[in-house]
Symmetry: C2
């Protein structure tokens, strides 16, 4: 519990009104910085024919802990830049401690808004997916997901133990961090390049969803192993069962629930009916997914899939796109702000061990996922490189693994740096390589503007 307000105000030497002014300025100012930086970099990326998400990640790096320290997640322990402290301090008439305190206090709100962005993006991805196509590629998607989990995990863990003499538990943890796929980044790139509805796009989205489910199971196992506890089969089986139930229920509802939704929406008369009704379905699915032990984000995708058969799907699409444009941007920029690129500097001798580990992990991480692109059978010709590259970005999921390992004190600094670099490398390389590969083979489909 935070201390009573009076003590806090004495410690920070600021009145409630001053703190509130500082809070509003900081919260509004953060959005301003995020939108300006993201937009500038996104425009640059479009002109370089690269996906805009790359610009959003880079914008985060520029304004975050690796750059100007304008946006600083409290968990990175970094300080806000002196310019921010000075400007807000003089406008709200408070000291730098008060600004730092307000930053730590209000950052969860920014993260909550960014979560709305992620959920909206996955909802939109589900909405624009074809259920029949997804089911049709179910076997391929499963093969890709399993191969993309097993290969990086096995090669990474074994390599770390044999080549770098890393003990079992941290090696298993690093291997597990390599199994993730960032469905958000993949969905964003495929959506912008208009490859979401192609067979490759549906295989990748399906595999990324399954990968998210596998990741939760792996995480449960790794946390149990790392905690030194006995590995109980019960909870793991329960999770697997929940995952199967979830997929089956989502598919069944996708075929049956849309008419019920339309029936309800047709009877709504108050303004904003489609937006609110969609969000009821969205939050319901997120709640259900989290309640059975899966990720809420998977529920968002399922909600989109369920509503993709709605007669109102065009209106839903129009209502969700501004949310994605605004808040998914916040989500990707925030990922960038938390990345500390100083471990990349090879001139610092302390970094060298980490860089060697990183290079190994990066190669395994890329090779393992690209190989997964060749793991499935298909009668029609598909671009297997696109599928492999689509599975490559670790993004926020890799960072979550890293955060858990650091928190548990499992990782050496070199291994921490190595995992971080693997995550950064795959996250930034995937959109660039995808654009190059798709651009070369797909010059007839120019970049279009999906959102208003």
């Amino acid at each position: 519990m935070p201390p009573p307000p009076l003590l806090l105000e004495l410690a920070l030497d600021a009145s409630p009104h001053q703190l509130e002014v500082a809070e509003t300025l900081l919260q509004v100012g953060r959005y301003l910085v995020i939108f300006v930086a993201a937009r500038a970099m996104a425009e640059l990326m479009v002109r370089l024919q690269l996906p805009t998400i790359l610009g959003e990640l880079l914008a985060g790096v520029i304004i975050g802990v690796s750059g100007f320290h304008l946006i600083v997640p409290p968990e990175t322990q970094a300080q806000l830049s002196a310019a921010v402290l000075g400007l807000l301090g003089s406008l709200a008439d408070v000291g730098p401690e008060a600004v730092a305190h307000v930053n730590a206090e209000t950052f969860p709100s920014l993260q909550a808004v960014s979560q709305i962005g992620l959920f909206s993006l996955l909802f939109l991805t589900g909405l624009e997916s074809e259920l029949d196509e997804l089911v049709a590629v179910g076997v391929q998607a499963t093969t890709v997901a399993v191969t993309g989990v097993v290969l990086p995990f096995a090669l990474g863990t074994a390599g770390l133990m044999l080549l770098f003499h890393v003990p079992l538990v941290p090696a298993v943890f690093a291997g597990a961090a390599m199994t993730a796929t960032s469905i958000g980044i993949t969905a964003s790139v495929f959506g912008e390049l208009r490859w979401l509805k192609r067979k490759e796009g549906q295989i990748v989205i399906g595999a990324a969803v399954l990968d998210d489910i596998l990741g939760i199971v792996i995480l449960a196992v790794v946390v149990a192993v790392a905690g030194g506890g006995t590995l109980a089969a019960g909870p793991i089986l329960q999770l697997c069962l929940a995952a199967v139930v979830f997929v089956v229920v989502a598919i069944v509802l996708s075929r049956t629930a849309a008419p019920a939704f339309d029936w309800v929406v047709d009877r709504l008369k108050a303004p904003g009916d489609v937006a609110v009704a969609s969000f009821v379905v969205l939050t319901l699915c997120c709640f259900a997914a989290q309640a059975i032990g899966l990720e809420a984000a998977l529920g968002a995708f399922a909600a989109g899939l369920i509503l993709s058969a709605s007669r109102h799907s065009h209106d839903i699409d129009a209502a969700v796109k501004p949310l994605v444009a605004l808040f998914a941007t916040v989500f990707f920029v925030l990922i960038g702000t938390g990345m500390d690129l100083s471990v990349l500097n090879p001139l610092d001798p302390a970094n060298r061990e980490g860089l060697v580990v990183a290079l190994f992990l990066l190669v395994v991480a890329i090779a393992g996922k690209i190989a997964a692109g060749w793991s499935y059978f298909s009668k029609d010709p598909t671009n297997r490189l696109v599928v492999g590259l689509g599975m490559m970005p670790r993004g926020e999921v890799g960072l979550i693994f890293l955060g858990l390992g650091t928190q548990a004190g499992l990782l050496t600094p070199a291994l921490e740096a190595g995992i971080l670099l693997m995550v950064i490398g795959t996250t930034f390389l995937a959109p660039v390589l995808l654009r190059l590969v798709i651009g070369a083979r797909n010059s007839e489909a120019p970049l279009e503007q999906p959102a208003a």
Copy 2:
């Protein structure tokens, strides 16, 4: 500062993972409850031909501290319902203390999202306002604002002192709480009834904006008086100057900045250009307003006014409406959740003094604002009752005054209850009466659906 995580986990007997699951379930579940309740009540209101905002406020009352305790703002000190504690506790496998802790920790995020809703609503109100019409009614709006501040303040303060023997400082505070106008509620009702662009609508919006500015000056004076400090003229003059500068700059920019905005937007190529560019202007104006000591919400209105002359105003409108439909709903529902209607029960003898005070304050609050509707000169005939009723709802602004007074320990329980009932009464009566008056004289303009 919160205690280190380990101590917290020991105290709550929950792992970080369990707390995170409880957090996600609570956050997603709150949106679900808010949207379902607000939608159900809004639909009921539409069928009763009442403004939907009334349904949103009532939905908040039903699920909040006066109803089922499903959504409980931490500052009300109320407990979450046993059903919520039990459901979340069993799903996330944590105790009721952990759920209560997570509720207190995550509530600011919900409030931050509701602020985005308020800003979006005021932005939309500015966007749909006519600058020329606003300037043309400037004198009338000023007269209405000043009369609507002076009358309730003077009558309220004097009446409390003479009739109820309330001391000077609390009487001044209660009087000040009666000067407020909730621009959010007024804008929402006028927008839904399609009276925003009429002369009455523009007078009310203009007066409500000026009232917000006057309210900040009054608040500064009252806080200085209540704090027992000397009333320095410097800061007050500075605030007044800031207000004048703000209005002048907003009007000048509304005439000149839209072409520059269009020029920039026409050169943007990445998706989501209009939404993000509008939010840059929105956050910039909010930051500027707060930086010179005014409310950030006023900046949101100014931003909308500036962009109302844009060639892209139709696209901006389409991008902002889903945000309003979703997040302004959250804002109004949250206002309702914090209202404790138990003070209304006349059977409890402890309430009777408060009810008598409340009745007096309510009469003054209604009469003072309605009288303001007859305070201006106009060549064209206008519906003065509509203007007076439009100024009536105190809404969130009145609650902010009440919260400050309670926090400072200035108010007796009877006076606290009286102010709360005055706020509740004016807030709920205004939309009902407006609908009755407008409906009776305006049967040719049916309720339309402004949002998708």
